[in-house]
Point group: none
């Protein structure tokens, strides 16, 4: 018979003898009382950017959606399957989370594909092509800028896409209402895989900067469009 | 201005001074060479069941999709947005991952909602209701069993849903082809939040058991329907 | 002449030189004073699930009924022979036992037979077919669930049958009365032959769990139907 | 909530750390391969006469029916529930056991009740009264013998009842046939709780004697009626 991957079983054994052993009571309590995470993170599937790792969060803290390129589509109540919108609805309406973080990262394969005009569909169904079309207008505009390097264009679209997802979040009526009531905060973050640096979005300007630079920068900022 | 959540910034500082400091080279290499994860995990958004934590995996190992109730919809090349299908396409066709693990868990809020005949939509768009309708026939059949306890029905549907997602994976032509060629293996796993136990699916029977019990049980097994 | 089985005589000699030698006084006292067991166990005939072995109990502790699939039929004062009902009556009314444990187990041959729609009678009298018809409605309902594996259906029916027997116990007027007076407690247990694990029934929900998990789980439970 | 009896949980823990730990492989193998017991024992529910204890048998050896006074009713294919007959059918026809042992014991409460002409029903349903009526004619005849002491009458009926059960076994067509073909052997045994002695029945004469006395006695014996 097919075996469960050895690497995963070994990792699980490490978990059980290490982290779980240390946090047994916490897991028990979380099982009994139910989860009450403070933050919804919309992150990328990328194997190098796990939010629990980067934010060093334990069980019960982060409700995490992961899709290719950490995107939120606009609100479309069309009775189709919407994995991401369903998770947002559940996090906001059922779990009453206090924060939503759109967490992008550098060298994102999805964003890279969106910027490639010669990208062939990965399969006839072309799910990636359709999915990345969520940033199609932005990708086209950025790609047409022949003054920026390919690396600059990629970083630019990674960040534009985060702001785009935050705008899309506000098309969800309850997200918009709760944000206006001060009960829900929307944030952007971008992780640099190469240097390990986290850049967070200034909510007023939409600029990304290191947290240490954020406070000072806020003084002369203007609202993001 | 709105501050980025303090808890996350503190966690990030822990990451930088701890894990990242230890794995600086690995992150650098992963940034330069690109990711090459061995496994795609389809996991739940639940804050208590992060796959990197439970499998104790480091950066670069797991390509992770997380949606409510860790579901894979059937192959539907209908030119709509399919977050999960796009991630599967990218993982299998672009990253050439060797394993797909559907990872469910106990006390899943999505599964609980699917079993509740009186569940009200969480919002007018009812994204969760539509999303969980992926297991509607199974949920109805299991809920109609009035001999099992609510806890037993929930565990049953959590496991049926994992098998259902594996069946749906096989409706993706390239997943089916690669599996038949022995280049891709499909697995199921179920994590018990309360006890920390991992139950893995016997690929032949579809039964879930502790890994230590798996090898011996394989002898007298029959293929799952 | 036909010899008494050698294996049993050898085993008896072990008993005499070992356990009996150690507990001679206890056997004498029990012979003189009569038995006063604290618990009635209704167990299966299965050779792998002897209650004295699993509960490590000595002489005088457990009054034990064993029939195929550890079942209690409903109260039927019809002047027929009722081996199990007679034992219950004797244990409760004459011996005043304080607990009744219905003890099921995994891989039960009787339950397996009940789930097999093509099961042929083992003999023209079909005693097993009739006996297992005590769980016929439950077996039919569970067998009709084509989403669960055969192993899952079997475990489900093993546990449903335990709850069914406990319900049947309450149709005995004196069992019901004594339980209501707090003088008699009804319990369920399920033994996993493969792993040696004992799962006990949460009296409120009817769910089965490892004893170590039982206390914490009781908090949010509801009464079983 | 009601707790599972502490004494049983402690005993189970002893089992797990002791016997099960020693016989883990045997339990696993028995779970996978199924049981194949060599002997069916029909024993009494009495807490002082557990057959696994007295024959020092391990898991997988004895298929055990236990009812009050270890009785086998005559073959009655009347479509009623017959716990004991069902177990016999399963043991002989499905498990192909090689031996049946009817195992009685001294100071049996059921036999004592059968000998008591003033015995009141233990409850209106009088299940014990009906059940013990299986030995009613024998009990009446023995009780009318006013030359024997009460103790002698009790021992006498305990042994008569064993022979009676063996006769009843032979009313099962397949038991009779298999015995005649030499594929199944029927035995009687009687356990003296007070002294720990096992008396086995001479198949030819029906007499009970210590195993050490059996061989010599066989020489001058005659068939039992």
């Amino acid at each position: 018979m097919r075996q469960f991957p050895e690497r995963l079983l070994n990792g699980y054994n490490n978990f059980m003898s290490g982290r779980y052993a240390d946090e047994r009571d916490r897991y028990r309590t979380l099982a009994e009382a139910g989860q009450s995470p403070h933050t919804l993170v919309v992150a990328c599937c990328d194997s190098r950017a796990a939010p629990e790792t980067i934010f060093d969060c334990g069980p019960g803290e982060l409700f995490v959606v992961r899709n290719v390129a950490n995107m939120v589509p606009p609100y479309e109540p069309d009775n189709q399957y919407h994995a991401t919108s369903a998770a947002i609805e559940f996090a906001v309406q059922a779990l009453k989370i206090a924060n939503i973080v759109i967490m992008g990262h550098g060298r994102c394969g999805g964003i890279k594909a969106a910027l490639d005009p010669n990208m062939e569909p990965l399969s006839p169904g072309d799910f990636i092509g359709k999915w990345m079309s969520l940033v199609r207008p932005a990708a086209d505009q950025i790609q047409s800028n022949d003054l920026m390097t390919q690396g600059e264009r990629q970083t630019a679209l990674e960040r534009v896409s985060i702001r785009n997802s935050i705008s899309n979040l506000r098309t969800f009526p309850y997200v918009k209402a709760l944000e206006e009531q001060g009960k829900l905060q929307l944030h952007g973050a971008w992780f640099d895989i190469s240097t390990g640096e986290l850049w967070v979005m200034d909510a007023m300007t939409g600029d990304f900067m290191r947290p240490s630079d954020l406070a000072t920068a806020a003084a002369d900022s203007e609202p993001a469009a």
